[in-house]
Each structure stands twice: as C-alpha cells, then as structure tokens.
Amino acid sequence: MSESTALPERASKITVTGLRKSFGTNEVLKGIDAVVAEGEVVCVIGPSGSGKSTFLRCLNKLEDLTAGHVVVDGFDLADPKVDINEVRRHIGMVFQHFNLFPHMTVAENIMLAPVELKKAGKEQAREQALALLEKVGLREKADARPASLSGGQKQRVAIARALAMNPGIMLFDEATSALDPEMVGEVLQVIKDLARSGMTMVLVTHEMGFAREVADRVIFMADGVVCEEGAPEDVFGNPTQPRLREFLSKVL
C-alpha cells in the first residue's frame, strides 16, 4: 500500500488544525495540524506522555477541545451546535481495555447501539451482530458473557461492536497493549483485514512492525506536537529528527 502515501485527489475525512488540549495548567497538545484522507490508515507512534492518546480521543470529542478545530465529515467538533452523538455514530472506537459491557451478552453488546438508536429492529440487529462476529471469528460466542472470554476475544468483540453502526472511520487506542503476547496476533489480523477493506483508520500503537506493515502514513508525536510524519519506510528507515531516532533506537 505504499503507493497510497499521499493522494491529494482523495477527499479528506478528518482535518485537524491548531488543536490544543490542556488538563488544568498542563498543556498536553500544543497545536496539532493533521489531515486523514478517506481510506487512509494512519498510525500514531511516540513515547508515553507524548499526547498521542489524547489526540486520538479528541477526534471523537471524548476530550473537549481547548483550542483549534477538528473537522470530521464536514462537522466541526469545536462547534457546540454540532450534534456530537450524530458524529460519533460514524466513528467507531476501540479501547486499550476493551470496555465491553459486562452485564450484557456478546451479541447484546454489539446490538446496543443499533437498537437504541433505532437503526435496526432487534431481529435485524442480531443478524448483523452475528455477521460481524463471523467476521472476527467469534460467532459461537454470541450468547456468552464478556467475562468468559480471553483478552484477545474481548478485543475482537469490541471491534465488532465498534463496527455495528457501519462507521466510516475507526479509531484504535493502543488496542493490543493490554493483551498477553500470544493474543496480539489474532487482534492485529482483524485490524489488518479491516485496513485492507478500505476503512479510514487512525491507530495509536506500540507495535512498530505492525505500523510499518499496515500504515499508509506514520505520525510521530513528542511533547504534544507532531515531530515527524511520512510514509512508514521513510519514518522507520530514514528518520530525520533526533527525537525520533532516539525513540526508534529504544523500541526497535
């Protein structure tokens, strides 16, 4: 997919300009500009505390923006008149700790949004849930409780749940960081399949090999700013910034 590094003819899905985010007096994001094109897979890497997770959480306004703009599908999240719930229906999110709803079955987890938001009837929602579970290889777990699943299975269910509203964008917040090593592969495989299907995706990850393989573009963040970005072969193979070189020497 290296040919898709820069495709100006493709419409932009997410446009971030001058994004700043502070928690109290601590400024975590210090002015970020970024564009994600339709169908593009962007991996965000960087040392812990660099603000990459906060950046991702601003893209669906799980964090309020302190300054700047995040425009998703033409909706500016900084505009208080924008119905954030409507925008979020088009953005699926997968969390480090899965956040499955423990009081519901696997299928109910996936059906919750379509049913509550009147997108589908119960029957239809269940059929769709089973189809999504099929896709992540867990159809037989439809009526199990999340507590009975392994970490890798939980994260695959969480991905299926995030896909239930047919989102145009998927956000992954360190989706494999909480997994035992032997379960990382099955989750990465599902994400890879999703990337190949043409989904627009932004992933915060520590899996450098995976980023190199699957990303169209890599953003390296440090100290709340974008330090370097580019095609994976450039970022990993020919880093220009000392901070990036230092980071790569530690993780590779």
Binding site: N85, G92, H97, N99, F101, P102, L112, L117, A164
Partner: protein
C-alpha cells in the same frame, strides 16, 4: 360521647382482646345504664381528649383526671369519684426496706411530672435518698426488680393494679393522700350530663357496686393468676402482628420514597452543575447529620404548630424515615455510579448514545449491582429505625409491645417476643432481597 386517655391502667386500658376497659370505663358505663343515657367512648389520649372537649367534639371526659383549681377555671367537675394518693413499693422479696428511713443512701424511681415524683423529692433530703425520674410505670417497676432502684413512688391505684397483676412488687407504706379524680364537662355546658353522673355515682356507691368495680382492679394483691409464657404469646400475638404490619407498611412506603429521593439527589451529586451538587450536599448534610427522632418530633409536633394543619402519623412517619434514609441512599447511589469504570460510559458515548441513554442502559445497571448489598443493608436499618416512631405514638411493633407490658408488666418476656418477631421479619426480608438480587443482577 365521652373522651378518654389511651392507656392509664387501671382507669382505662385495652385488655388482651383489645377491648377498652378499666375503672373509668366500668363506672361511666354503669352510670349510663342506671341513668338511661347512651355512651360512646373515644380513646383519644389525655391531651387530645381535653382538646376535643374544648372544641365540643366530645360531651365529657373521664380519664383519671385530677381535680385542680386551674382546670376548674375551664371545666365543671363532678363529685370526686376516686381519691388517689402516692404509695411506695419495693421488690416483693425485699425484706430490708419497710419504711422511708431504710432508703438512706439509696436511689428510688418516680414518674416524670407525677405526684409521686413531687412527694418523693419532698422527703428525699429528710431521709437521704436520691430520686431518679422515668417515663413509664412499667419501666419503673423493672428498675426496682432489677435492683437498679430500691423503691418506686407511684400513684396508689396504678401501683395497686400493678401488684394485682403480679408485677413482682409489694407496697410497704400507707398511701399519702393526694388529688381526687373527677368527670369533666365544659364550663356551663352539659349540666344535665354532670347531674346524671353525680346521681348515678351516688347510687353506685350506695348499692356497693362502686366498691365492686374498684375491687375488680385494685383487689388483694396476687389476685390475678400468673399466666404462662405460652398464654402471653397467644394473647399478645394479634396486637403484635398488627404492629408488625404497620412496621412493614411504613418501612415499605418509606423505602420507595427514599429510593426516589436517593436516585434524584445521587444524580445531583455527580452532576456537572455546581448548584445541583450543592443542593444534594446540603440535603445529605442535614438529614444524615441530625437524629431521626428529632425529625419525628419536628414533623408530628412542630409542623402542625407552624402551619396550623394537623399532620397524620403516617405522613410524619414516612417523612421521617424516608428523608433520613434518602440521605444515606444518595451517598450509596453516588458511590455506586462512581465505582463503575469510566471506560464504560466512554465506550457507550463513543457509540453515539447520549448521556441519559448511556446512564440508563450501561452505567446504572452495573451501579445497581454494586449498590444492592448496601441498599439491602439500608432497608434493614430502616426497618429497625421505624421502632423510633413509637415516640410519636405510631402503632408499630415495639409500640404494641410497650402497650402490652404497660398492662401486664411482663417486660422481659414481651420484649423477647418482640425481638424474635423483628429477627424473623428481617431474616425473611434479607432472604427475599437476596433472591431478588440473584434474579435481577446476574
């Protein structure tokens, strides 16, 4: 229509079958029969009976009422129908105390505000004993029997009746003459009724029936046969079950109201609005920071004086219990919701569900599971706390128990039965709550 007190044995009290009986009752009924008028008795409580008389809701009051100069200003009294007085009693096995000089250095008990208390205090210094005041005859007698007090000073008829009921005491001094009791009507009204009472009373005295009535209640000590524990259990059971029913109903209603209050203020507490958080904090501070009993008195006695509107016992009871528990449940709800992983709300919000829907479908169901043990605990505390409502005369389980031992003086056994009933009720409730918990919170 005649008003009377609720319990002033042996003048008026309810026998084990719940019928109003006593010296006053027998007298007024006998007089009514001989003088050819019909009598309907309303057991209102002493103060309420006098209020009812003043407002002409009843025609007369007979309630073991002393004839005093102050009362004569407002009411017309009949001829005295009973000469009261103060007497001293000690434990029936006590041979060491035969008169006031034996009390030196000891403690005696007397009823708060009674003639007995006034008399005991008047001679306390002379004989070198101390006087401790208690509220109820039954508890005074228990204090003597348990050895916490050497002797009791009480109204002679009340004491005589107690001794006749085997309360375990014996009288050791002569009665000190005190006030006399009279039947009262409003000043200048119902003079026919008053005259009929006096005529009837004179006739009863002449025929000897008057003495027969007195003897029936004050006769030779140990006249009544001491019944077995089983008899006590079977005779008191209906009244106690009525009390248990009231306890359950007032607890049930109060718990529902407290849940509504607790959910409301619990959500206020986690709200982003500083005003709502403030309201909830003040609510919790007030009702968690003040005793339940204060509120019971405030609602039942204070509010009617502020508003001029009488308040029903049920309303006062439910307000007291539900506001108190509501404060605790507010904290349980807040704690329950806050202990749900914040990631749950984020996951739900990220799917496009609004705050309300996310709370309703994702956070609150999990919070309830966490809250359930605390809520069951609160329910049980509330059921036990409802016994405090006896202080305002709410006929719950312990109140019914008190009514029973006020009449038969068997405090320990009656309280034991009451405790067992509470225990069984609470065990049953706990079991039920746990079954419900397992069913709904899988």
């Amino acid at each position: 229509m005649i008003g009377t007190d609720t319990t002033f044995a042996p003048f008026e009290f309810r026998d084990s079958s719940g019928e109003l009986t006593g010296i006053d009752m027998d007298l007024i009924r006998a007089i009514a029969e001989s003088q050819g008028f019909e009598v309907e008795i309303r057991s209102l409580g002493f103060n309420a009976a006098l209020q009812a008389l003043s407002s002409n809701q009843v025609d007369g009051v007979i309630a073991g009422m002393s004839i005093t100069d102050e009362r004569k200003q407002i009411y017309d009294f009949s001829d005295p129908y009973f000469e009261s007085g103060v007497q001293m009693a000690v434990d029936q096995d006590d041979t060491g105390i035969t008169g006031y000089p034996d009390l030196a250095g000891k403690t005696v008990v007397a009823k708060t505000g009674s003639e007995g208390e006034a008399y005991a205090k008047s001679i306390a210094e002379q004989y070198g004993f101390t006087v401790k005041s208690l509220d109820q005859s039954a508890t005074m007698y228990e204090a003597v029997k348990s050895g916490n007090a050497a002797a009791v000073f009480d109204d002679y008829p009340v004491l005589a009746y107690g001794v006749a009921q085997n309360n375990g005491l014996k009288t050791v001094t002569d009665k000190v003459p005190g006030g006399s009791y009279g039947f009262a009507v409003n000043k200048g009204q119902n003079q026919d009724l008053l005259a009929a009472f006096n005529t009837g009373l004179a006739q009863l005295k002449a025929s000897g029936e008057y003495q027969a009535i007195l003897d029936k209640y004050l006769a030779a000590p140990q006249a009544a046969e001491r019944s077995s524990f089983w008899d006590l259990l079977t005779s008191s059971f209906p009244a106690l079950m009525k009390g248990l029913r009231n306890t359950m109903i007032v607890t049930g209603i109060s718990f529902v109201v407290a849940m509504v209050l607790g959910l409301l203020f619990g959500f206020f507490k986690i709200s982003t609005s500083r005003i709502l958080r403030g309201i909830a904090t003040v609510f919790v501070a007030i009702f968690r920071g003040t005793p339940l009993l204060v509120w019971a008195f405030f609602f039942y006695f204070g509010v009617p004086q502020l508003t001029g509107q009488p308040i029903s016992l049920w309303v006062a009871g439910v307000l007291t219990l539900s506001l108190n528990s509501g404060a605790y449940i507010t904290e349980i709800v807040r704690g329950g919701i806050q202990s749900v992983d914040p990631g749950q709300l984020e996951a739900s919000r990220s799917l496009g569900l609004g705050y309300g829907k996310s709370m309703q479908r994702v956070v609150v169901p999990q919070a309830f599971k966490i809250m359930t043990p605390s809520l069951i605990n609160q329910l049980i505390i509330m059921l036990k706390d409802s016994s405090l409502l006896l202080a305002i005369g709410f006929a719950e389980l312990l109140y019914q128990g008190q009514q029973i031992y006020a009449q038969n003086f068997r405090i320990t056994e009656t309280l034991f039965i009451v405790a067992v009933i509470y225990f069984v009720a609470i065990m049953a409730l706990t079991w039920l709550a746990n079954v419900a918990d397992r069913r709904f919170n899988k």
